[in-house]
Symmetry: C2
């Protein structure tokens, strides 16, 4: 149940697919080329593999526990978190100005993947802190930034996102927590927040809650929500910790997975009001929170890839070790089960989907770097549009895949997969939250259809299709057999995607409910085809560079061909479902269920 | 978290799809028509809903526990089991000659579905007893039958299947347990058996273990395995219980799901040898065990349908109750989430797959009745061949579906789905064993390809395709729009299935590994298309009989159309994957992973 960071694949993706040289050419990123990436990845892998990964199973067996308002994390988590801070890992992506290391998102993404693969439960704490940092840097006053950002970026304090309330899950318009202005410019916060990841814990000396609440006389709905920073311990003018704030954990959840990550119910203001400070302007809280959420959505997509990789490594190890039944082609004695065609098919499915999803996510990270740092405004704008289009796909597609792939991981183990001590079941349970939190797959898909596809008439989506078509041409020009097989499958997939985009754009206004009934399958279609595109590009690289590393590139070639033959054909079914079944879904009256 | 047996759908399937009138026309089944079925189903539903279903969650929270060789089942299980015995439910399908009720499998199958939907963990005990009864009645001497069958059929004793050993999972050729002949005609059994469902418990006074072991000088491999009956307590000549036998539970497993069902490690012969009696002839144990396994495989398929139905009911209840977000078409306030297109799509997916799988399974049960009881030998033979073809599909397809559908059940609950107390996660965990035990999906699929498809040159498979084509003609003749949509999708699916059968038959001998790499997707393809066929037949019935029950038949019509539009298109992808990716799977050398 150990974990080996797939550094070779990560570097291949960075170099050949995500364009690290382009990123390293951006102003301020001159030192962050492939050599730096390799050094950082090696260092990150050591920390993750040696310190965090061994805690994953322990976190499941011995989850965070709650007593008298206190949460005690899994034994070993506190020491690992101390080393996480000492290594500066919280600051990788954050600005040097506040003590961070200012790495490109492309490199930071690989570090993120490793940390999540090592332990989803552990990595959630830094992930939420990242979101809090990003929201503060985007929206808070300079004073608030100075007060909180350095200690969050160092990891000395951690952050949380407080959105959900019992009656307000996906629908933030229903938020009821309220903020009362005080004479000193602060606010008193009152309300109950649920599902707060690391809302209480013993890893750090302070917890910085970012809380959505309503000011008196605020408008109804999402336009009346403001964002407040509410620390567990108040912060004195000199930066030292002051009084305990009136924000208390009243319970944590008993969950299917990620059990070491405490999911808190937080009560604000039961003893006179929790003191908070307004972040940015009143009533713009949701907008600021979306800054956190977009970063977090991408990170949850990485969680999907990370847990799929971990499950794959575990299943692969078992399949190589476990000897059972004769070879179908007729060996005398029993063989390792990896020799059995269906086990191999399952492993290839895990490998192909995981590598494709990784490539797509890293390319998405690179668009973020270009969107923020390119000198040319049109390049920034173009990449921001690509990033906005791709984030819901990375989130929705990678996490939906992770459920399927961790399930295959269990299946490869046979009966042992169902026994908890084997560890395969933990990945299956852990993965199950990923399609739900930070916006369910349907929320991602509705965003993808409405704001990201229909609003611009499908322009960004079609621009990606045009780039796919160019890759098809490259494959055709090469004339190599594997490439021609890929080209055919990719073309069919791309045509299915184009037809679907056309359908959505043409009907979104007049056939609202039928169109949105197809949103999730459109998201999955886009993820499947864009993943296939990345595998096609990887195949081109493999055909060109095979001699440099025959084992790596042969594996990439065969994996890509498998993607073309076994996975890409699902594109037609997804497209057909989107284009034909929406009206039928709408026709099914609630009473008929 | 209550359960309502879907009696209306069950009776519809029996009458309009599975041909209960044909079954009731068989010799000995004259009293088992629709009226009897309705009465039995009503009675079974009362018992299952009121007594068993409420224990399901308790069984998860308070699983079977092990101490000092004893297993204590979940509080309430013992009382429920007493009522199960008192109701005569163990005997439903077994011969009146031994105290059973002799019902057709078609009717018994509905009772089975209800019991499993109420609690998979509880229902496993009777399911294993069924298998033991069937093996004894098929293979044992009259004396052994008289000794064990009546008390198993009454439920006073329970049965187990002891196949698996640490080194012998799917590969029974590796069984090492041994049997030493004694002077008195009995045998001393030695060995370790693992994964023994209800191998130890406190529900009944005796447990009848059926154990695979090797006689001295038996041939290697599966042809040297014999079957023994090894009771927990020896049975005196007068039928009373004698000494404790040397068969002891040494531990039970800590599992992902079905936690109330104790999964035992049994040690035979650590204290001088467990006394067993040979069932049937030496070295034919595997053949006899297959009798149990075929019944059990069908029953596990029913478990898949049952847990899918239960998860659907739970998700439907939540979706109707939970109010969140405005209607996309523009309501003022928030609406129940069932109004949201993607939630409706998920519910329809659950409903459509579950109904299709139920119809296919009940039709399969009817072929078993015809195979055993038809007067005409050619009818018996034809139906036996159909049954043999369909069992691995019912097992493999229904259980694979149950993983997807229980996952949708979690998703519909959003964040609450991840909280154990909600109960949705339990179905997701429970379902995960179903594709593994009683033969993994790959084992089912290899059987389907080798013995059930290739061996007869695809004759049985093609005979089903011909019947599908006839249904297409009926839909065409009707000329109704829903029917024409279904006809087109069904035809495309059937053609994909035929092409796949042709590929398998043509290549199974020369391309062994590539062909078997496609086995699971062939099984899923067959399940998808045969399920679609049943939905097409249901649609015909709905169009003809609508006036009799507009709400029921309108729902059936829309559900069937959804199956045609949203689900059946996957047939092409599955077929393409089988026909093209096998060689690529084979090409991926183990070292390349």
């Amino acid at each position: 149940m150990s974990y080996q960071a797939p550094i070779k694949d990560m570097l291949f993706v960075m170099q050949d697919l995500a364009g690290i040289s382009q990123v390293a050419a951006l102003p301020g990123f001159e030192d962050y080329g492939l050599d730096t990436a390799q050094a950082v990845l090696d260092e990150s892998a050591r920390f993750c593999q040696d310190i965090v990964a061994p805690l994953n199973w322990e976190g499941d067996r011995n989850p965070s526990s709650f007593q008298d308002g206190q949460v005690t994390t899994t034994p070993g988590f506190k020491q690992a978190y101390e080393q996480f801070i000492a290594g500066g890992w919280q600051g990788v992506i954050h600005p040097a100005e506040y003590g961070g290391q200012g790495f490109p998102k492309l490199i930071a993404t690989a570090c993120t993947e490793m940390l999540h693969a090592s332990s989803l439960s552990f990595a959630l704490c830094p992930m939420l802190t990242d979101g809090a940092i990003e929201a503060l840097l985007t929206a808070a006053s300079d004073e608030l930034r100075q007060k909180y950002a350095p200690k969050l970026i160092s990891g000395q304090w951690t952050g949380t996102m407080n959105l959900t309330e019992p009656q307000a899950g996906s629908d933030l318009a229903a938020v009821r927590s309220r903020a009362e202005p005080q004479a000193d410019g602060t606010y008193r916060i009152f309300g109950t927040k649920i599902f707060i990841t690391y809302g209480e814990h013993d890893l750090a000396e302070n917890i910085v809650h970012l809380v959505l609440a309503r000011l008196p006389d605020a408008p109804e709905g999402v336009k009346g929500i403001s964002l407040f920073v509410v620390p567990k311990f108040l912060v004195n003018a000199d930066g030292s910790l002051g009084e305990r704030n009136d924000a208390h954990c009243v319970s944590i959840e008993h969950k299917l997975g990620i059990k070491a990550s405490p999911t808190a119910v937080l009560q604000f203001g039961d003893h006179g009001g929790a003191i908070g400070e307004l972040v940015g302007e009143p009533n713009r809280g949701l907008e600021y929170m979306f800054v956190m959420m977009n970063a977090a959505r991408f990170a949850v997509g990485m969680q999907g890839i990370a847990v799929s990789e971990r499950a794959y490594q575990q299943a692969l190890g078992y399949a190589k070790d476990r000897v059972q039944s004769r070879d179908l082609a007729g060996s005398a004695g029993p063989v390792a089960i990896i020799q059995h065609p269906d086990v191999k098919r399952m492993l290839l499915t895990m490998k192909a989907h995981t590598e494709a999803a990784r490539a797509l996510a890293y390319c998405t990270a690179a668009t973020s770097d270009l969107a923020h740092h390119a000198g040319d405004e049109s390049v920034r704008r173009e990449n921001q549009a690509l990033y906005d289009y791709l984030v819901p796909i990375v989130k929705g597609h990678s996490t939906e895949l992770s459920i399927e792939l961790t399930s295959l991981g269990v299946q490869i183990h046979g009966g042992m997969g169902f026994i908890e001590e084997t560890g395969a079941a933990q990945h299956y349970r852990d993965a199950r939250i990923l399609t739900i939190y930070e916006g369910t797959t349907a929320i991602q898909a509705n965003d993808l259809v409405g704001r990201k596809t229909v609003r611009d008439g499908g322009a960004v989506a079609k621009s990606l299709c045009a780039r796919i078509a160019a890759t098809e041409q490259d494959l055709l020009a090469l004339g190599q057999e594997d490439g021609l097989v890929m080209r055919e499958a990719l073309q069919q997939g791309r045509l299915a995607l184009e037809a679907t985009i056309d359908y959505l754009v043409a009907n979104a206004k007049t056939q609202v409910k039928p169109v949105y009934a197809g949103a999730v399958n459109y998201l999955r279609l886009a993820g499947l085809v864009l993943g296939g595109w990345q595998m096609a590009r990887a195949m081109l690289a493999a055909l060109e560079q095979r001699e440099q590393d025959p084992a790596f590139f042969d594996a990439k070639l065969v994996t890509a061909r498998f993607y073309a033959e076994a996975l890409l054909p699902q594109a037609q079914a997804l497209s057909a479902s989107v284009r034909t079944s929406g009206a039928t879904v709408d026709r099914m009256a609630v009473e008929l269920f």
